[in-house]
């Protein structure tokens, strides 16, 4: 795949100011070839240590819990600011890239997913803010 194919983009509909995002397809690992995945806009968020998806999707796909972690938001500092959250495993695909198995935590907002560093760090990601363009490629692309 040439490096200038735009798999990612800046969304100004969900995010203000516009933010780099990508379409993600979420499937239960039991049905990795499902023709009817959950499709969501995924905010590319380098400030997120892990990816997060709406809890409604977790329930719909009957995802299995595999871990529990202590997590806090941007304002967390003291012990009380952190809480235990479940971690699930899911089959995540960005069209034209190799599907991956990812760890995700639940989030309440249904409008979009958050693609965190546990996924982003496997990608070559280029952001062109002035042109509102974003480009990504995986180190393991589908050929």
């Amino acid at each position: 795949m040439p490096p200038d194919i735009e798999l990612s983009y800046y969304s100004d509909q969900l995010f203000d100011p516009p933010a780099p995002a990508v379409m993600v397809e979420l499937r239960s690992p039991d049905y990795p070839n499902s023709a009817d995945p959950e499709r969501l806009v995924g905010l590319l968020d380098s400030g997120a240590f892990i990816s997060a998806i709406p809890e409604t999707v977790i329930e719909k796909l009957h995802l299995h819990k595999i871990d529990e972690i202590e997590a806090g938001d941007y304002n967390a500092e003291e012990e009380k600011d952190f809480r235990t959250v479940p971690v699930y495993w899911i089959h995540l695909t960005v069209p034209y890239l190799e599907p991956i198995w990812a760890r995700v935590i639940p989030k309440k907002p249904k409008s979009h997913a958050t693609v965190g560093r546990n996924v982003i760090n496997d990608w070559l990601l280029t952001l062109d803010g002035p042109k509102l363009k974003a480009y990504l490629k995986s180190i393991t692309e589908i050929t």
Partner: protein, 184 residues
């Protein structure tokens, strides 16, 4: 000899039911509660082929009801088994009780008990714990999960990241309130 089954998806079900019919060995049924409240239920039955047919009928009915795993919710299934089997073959119900821990909980307890040695062996890796042992490990969660899936399917299993450091995990990005006015 005891046969132990874990039902994870409908496609296993016909195989299990067929095996039950052929089998005269003790049969243990494990059902899994919804993923939000993982729990298992154990039921051990000693069956003749005729009695196995009864159980197979029950399981097939359960399969065709509206449920992703067994055709019934955990509560419905336990209730049905509790009502159906003691009546049909009371002498064959050896045990029907909630299992003490799910595979996730057992794996987590194993990890806590052996954290020191596991940290020495697997520092910086993800590990998968299954039946009180490390099934596999990898620095890449995706690679590990793929292999675990190939080995045991998509199940509730404990797969932590092993580290001796205390991890401070944050969502650093504040988000402003999402407004319907901004909706696409």
């Amino acid at each position: 000899m005891k046969t132990k089954w874990a039902f994870t998806e409908p496609r296993n079900f016909d195989d299990i039911a067929s095996t039950i019919v052929r089998s005269k060995v003790p049969f243990e049924l494990l059902t899994r509660r919804s993923t939000r409240r993982p729990m298992t239920c154990g039921l051990t039955l000693y069956l003749s082929s005729g009695e196995a047919t009864l159980l197979r009928d029950f399981l097939v009915k359960a399969l065709h009801a509206d449920n992703w795993q067994l055709g019934a919710t955990f509560e419905q299934l336990v209730q049905l088994l509790a009502e159906y089997y003691p009546l049909a073959c009371p002498e064959h119900v050896m045990r029907i009780e909630p299992a003490t821990k799910s595979a996730f909980e057992e794996g987590k307890a194993y990890y806590e008990r052996n954290k020191e040695s596991l940290t020495r062996r697997f520092e910086g890796q993800y590990i998968a714990i299954w039946e009180s042992d490390v099934l596999d490990s990898d620095a890449s969660f995706s690679s590990l999960a793929q292999r675990v899936y190939e080995k045991i399917g998509y199940v509730s299993i404990y797969m932590p990241f092993v580290t001796s450091k205390r991890r401070v995990l944050r969502f650093e990005s504040p988000e402003r309130r999402w407004s319907k006015a901004n909706a696409p």
